[in-house]
């Protein structure tokens, strides 16, 4: 290669590298920054206001507190182009923005508006003449709209103006709409809270569900060993104690797969005491997926189902397989049995909670609510009989940690 050729290749290489990196960075910035402006000036102002509202109002989704209200009042004031906006719970002004904010915020609501206007959940009150004891206060008129969650009035939104202008029906309507926007966010807070409680309740329900059938059988199996093999019986009883400890221990929503598998192991030891050689189990889990975070009691119900449907009632016994595959950013866990199999209708029913299967719909629901609808359970028949239940979940999800 001659010298000039070599420099030419240098330049070519540099050029290729430079273009690749520059294009990638440009593309990333392009995607990351706000979309292009195609709106008229009014449209832009409107868009900016709505954008600001959608950014700040979700703070209220964490509930009506002074901190969250404080984050929202400024935006609301700009949105309504009023001189002052305040959010109050049933009796206190939690946060205020604009005129008079410094001496009203944190005060009882009655310092601004007479209390008898604040009871009805469906009434927007117009106050044509505000009387503030503080002489320097410039606020003259106000509209007070209710914040309603589940039909109850839980607070008020106060919108004030300094000018003595007459307030019309239009003002009351606009403020009323803004208040219902805020109410909707607060309602979401309640819904989210309820969802969380529901998830915890589901976990509790599942814990209660495992026990009776299995506990009876396990204890019977242990009892049968007490005379013939006391050491084994003692060991089994210890396993049983650890098993119940995991199952009933506090409200730990997530554990690592390694922990969950440890629990499955104890469960299977107890089942083996009962079924003996009839229950064959293969555990085939890639070590890379052991640290993945799973909802507590998510794999065990799958295994218990496999044991029920693959072994019970079959004198010749059966084979349960637990497989764990590393799919890169995702993980696939599969529990199979070689029992009678399952029809597609029955599989659907099991996932909706209508059909057979202990807790499968519960596990599916918890997976979906934690990781999103792209993850969850799939139930299918296998060739040559048997059932396979497949669970998919991501290796990492921000905010989901094994406690």
């Amino acid at each position: 290669m001659s010298g000039s050729e070599e420099v030419g290749v240098d330049v070519a290489l540099g050029f290729v590298l430079g273009v690749v990196v520059a294009v990638s960075v440009a593309a990333a910035l392009r995607l990351a920054l706000a979309p292009r402006r195609v709106l008229s000036p009014q449209g832009q102002a409107m868009q900016a206001a709505v954008h600001a509202a959608t950014r700040t109002l979700p703070h209220l989704r964490r509930g009506l507190t002074a901190e969250n209200a404080g984050r929202a009042v400024g935006t609301l004031r700009r949105l309504l182009s009023a001189d002052a906006v305040a959010l109050a719970d049933r009796d206190t002004l939690l946060a205020m923005s604009g005129e008079g904010a410094e001496h009203h915020a944190g005060q009882p609501l009655s310092t601004l508006v007479a209390a008898d206007h604040l009871a009805r959940p469906d009434r927007v009150h117009v106050e044509p003449r505000l009387r503030c004891p503080d002489g320097r206060c410039t606020l003259r008129t106000a509209v007070v709209a209710p914040l309603v969650v589940g039909g109850d009035r839980i607070g008020s939104m106060v919108v004030g103006w300094s000018s003595e202008r007459r307030l019309g029906l239009e003002d009351a309507r606009v403020v009323g709409e803004a208040a219902s926007l805020v109410s909707a966010q607060l309602e979401l807070a309640v819904v989210e809270d309820q969802e969380e409680r529901l998830a915890r309740a589901e976990l509790r329900a599942l814990r209660a569900q495992i026990s009776p059938h299995f506990v009876y059988n396990a204890l019977a199996a242990i009892a049968s060993h007490i005379h013939s093999d006391p050491d084994e019986a003692r060991e089994l009883l210890t396993e049983f104690a650890q098993f119940t400890r995991y199952a009933f221990r506090g409200e730990r929503p997530y554990v690592t797969l390694a922990d969950e598998l440890g629990y499955v192991e104890k469960y299977l030891r107890l089942e083996r005491a009962r079924f003996g050689e009839r229950l064959a189990v293969t555990l085939n889990v890639a070590p890379e997926v052991l640290p993945v975070v799973v909802p507590t009691l998510s794999l065990q119900p799958l295994v218990e189902n496999a044991v029920r449907h693959g072994i019970e009632g079959r004198p010749e016994g059966g084979h349960v397989q637990i497989l764990g595959r590393d799919l890169g950013g995702d993980v696939e866990l599969r529990v199979t049995d070689d029992g009678a199999g399952i029809s597609p209708e029955a599989a659907r029913a099991a996932l909706t909670g209508a059909g057979r299967g202990i807790g499968l719909s519960n596990v599916d629901g918890r997976l979906r609510s934690t990781f999103g609808d792209e993850y969850g359970l799939r139930i299918g028949g296998r060739e040559g009989g048997g059932t396979a239940v497949t669970m998919t979940l991501p290796k990492f999800r921000a905010g989901v940690r094994a406690a």
């Binding site: 290669m1 001659s2 010298g3 070599e6 290749v9 240098d10 290489l13 540099g14 050029f15 290729v16 590298l17 430079g18 690749v20 990196v21 990638s24 960075v25 990333a28 910035l29 995607l31 990351a32 221990r249 506090g250 730990r252 554990v255 690592t256 390694a258 922990d259 440890g262 499955v264 192991e265 299977l268 030891r269 064959a280 189990v281 293969t282 555990l283 085939n284 889990v285 890639a286 070590p287 890379e288 997926v289 052991l290 640290p291 975070v293 590393d326 799919l327 890169g328 950013g329 995702d330 696939e332 792209e374 993850y375 290796k395 990492f396 921000a398 905010g399 940690r401 094994a402 406690a403």
Partner: protein, 570 residues
């Protein structure tokens, strides 16, 4: 022939282990889960196996032969990078549980857009790091089979891409651990055997003396595949295909294609981009003045490698396999030991190569010294067997590293840049991305033939150190970091580092042929400037903006020691 068989065996073995080995490595019918977690020793070997790339196996010895002892800062930096990881990153990151750097960025700073920027950088760093692996593949296959340079790139690129696309390279901790020992064995055994056969380091003059490289006993016969511009450091008379070429000291000549014959003891001409160095100068780790031995360049390189290791996407993903923060830390300590062991040996090849295969100075292909040395030092079956062993080790080196990189690239693409909805859709995109992700670096590798492997790797490290290192260090240790600050810092680091490298390339310094000034040194290895710039940008913009709400929760997750949480209740 033996070498081809060895290379084929390693390739097939890697694929076979990927497909079947996973099964054998994880199948048992007993139930003891606790004993199945990957132990720190295994994970450390897996990390080392994935980390020891073509740059380590071929590049260090090649650069050492070309530049001298100053090239040995490279393995020091490669290893020391794990010290930084150990001290500041490994345990907190494992406690958080994140699998990729975009995961970390989102979890720590609560900004989905930051994921995107991080993902683009993963692609840039991974792609840049793939290029030298493919170059190593091209060199090795040419050395072994005589096939053209592009054949090796095509073959290895295709094999790795298909293997990754078909799922053979995911979750293969035990395979990568095995690869570490293959590579270590393949570099240690020939080095030791050759030293025994030669009775120590021959001609100590080569190391500490004042001589320039000369043709060995019996003269040198060098096949020039193309017209080769050379510089004669001393007056010499050589012949190419019988045609006599005479030159005075310092003369430049362009030798025609053909067989170059140099009589024993004659000072060899050196190819373009190589400076003929006396033993004394060659053996100095740092020298005043410019070039790759200048203190500025050495410090810049040390910064790039020390801080860049933590930003290599395929390495961090391996730490996910550690069960907890303590295990992650233990693993890192073991990695330091395993890498230290390996890096003792490339040095031997560089030293011996200077004396025994000085022909490489003429052609400029010093990157092949590890491959060429055994047969040159020990003609006969012994040398051939050892040559086959190092070739197999080199293939193992770039196969394992390239696979790890490609898994990261394809994973990031199918999760962040071109996300599929649902596990199945993502798998399809992962496969497509694996093939496409290999095509681009392969194209660049065809052009990058004359850029030294270790220089290319140095750039990947510079980019990682200027972008992900500030994100990780400040993200883990500074509560005031904001998403805007992180984005600004990473963009600053990426743009300045890229600009410097591209400017250097356009200015014609294709790697080690370095101008004398400090600017040249910084264009060749910009980390000393770009890393502080990235930190500064991240710091300043963060002071201006508000830290995200997630900060406290993320900090707690990062720093709450293992065993204080639920595991204490076990």
């Amino acid at each position: 022939m033996i070498a081809i068989a060895a290379v084929a065996a390693v390739t097939i073995g890697a694929i076979g282990l990927g497909v079947y080995g996973v099964r054998f490595a994880r199948t048992t019918s007993d139930l003891f889960v606790a004993s199945r977690a990957v132990t720190p020793w295994f994970n450390a070997a897996a990390i080392s196996g994935e980390y020891l790339s073509a740059a380590s196996f071929l590049g260090i010895a090649g650069l050492e032969m070309k530049l001298g002892a100053s090239a040995l800062w490279l393995p020091i930096g490669f290893t020391a990078g794990y010290l930084a990881l150990l001290l500041f990153v490994a345990a907190p990151l494992r406690r958080l549980g994140s699998y990729t750097i975009p995961d970390f960025a989102e979890a720590r700073l609560g900004a989905r857009r930051l994921r995107l920027l991080a993902a683009v950088l993963v692609l840039a760093i991974g792609g840049l790091y793939l290029v030298p692996q493919l170059k190593g593949a091209g060199l090795t296959l040419r050395e072994v089979t005589g096939a053209p340079y592009w054949v090796g790139i095509a073959v290895v690129g295709l094999v790795v891409a298909l293997n990754v696309a078909l799922g053979g390279m995911r979750g293969i901790t035990y395979v990568q651990a095995f690869q570490y020992w293959v590579k270590t064995f393949a570099i240690v055994l020939p080095a030791c055997v050759l030293l025994i056969v030669l009775g120590g380091l021959p001609e100590r003059a080569a190391l500490f003396g004042r001589e320039l490289p000369v043709a060995p006993q019996g003269g040198a016969r060098i096949v020039l595949e193309q017209r080769t511009p050379v510089v004669f450091p001393r007056a010499a008379t050589v012949r190419v295909d019988g045609v006599v070429v005479s030159a005075g000291p310092g003369a430049r000549r362009t030798l025609p294609r053909g067989e170059l014959v140099v009589a024993a003891g004659t000072t060899l001409p050196v190819g373009e981009g190589i400076r003929a160095q006396t033993g004394a100068r060659w053996s100095r780790p740092v020298a005043p003045g410019g070039g790759t031995a200048s203190p500025l360049f050495v410090y810049s390189l040390l910064i790039a490698t020390f801080l860049g290791t933590m930003g290599l996407p395929h390495i961090l993903a391996r730490f996910y396999t550690s069960p907890d923060g303590t295990a992650a830390r233990r693993t890192t300590v073991r990695v330091l030991g395993l890498l230290g062991l390996f890096y003792l040996f490339p040095v031997v090849y560089g030293l011996l190569g200077r004396v025994l295969v000085p022909a490489l100075y003429v052609t400029g292909q010093t990157d092949s010294v590890v491959l060429a040395l055994p047969e040159a030092a020990w003609p006969g079956l012994g040398g051939e067997l050892l040559g086959a062993l190092v070739a197999a080790g080199a293939v193992a080196a770039f196969m394992s590293t390239a696979s790890g990189l490609l898994v990261s690239i394809a994973g990031t693409t199918s999760f962040d840049l071109w996300p599929g909805y649902g596990v199945g859709a993502r798998l399809v995109r992962f496969r497509l991305a694996a093939v496409a992700g290999m095509a681009v670096p392969a194209g660049v590798a065809l052009f990058a033939r004359h850029v030294d492997i270790s220089v290319l790797v140095g750039w990947a490290f510079a980019l990682a150190a200027s972008t992900f290192c500030p994100l990780l260090l400040l993200g883990i240790w500074w509560t005031r970091l904001t998403a805007a600050g992180a984005a600004a810092g990473m963009a600053t680091g990426a743009l300045t580092a890229t600009a410097a490298i591209v400017t250097g390339l356009a200015g014609g310094n294709g790697g080690s042929a370095l101008g004398e000034g400090p600017v040249d040194a910084l264009l060749a290895q910009p980390a000393a400037v770009t890393v502080p710039l990235a930190f500064a940008a991240m710091f300043v913009v963060s002071r201006w903006t508000r830290p995200p709400r997630e900060t406290d929760a993320a900090m707690l997750a990062l720093h709450l020691p293992d065993g204080l949480g639920a595991s204490a209740m076990r």
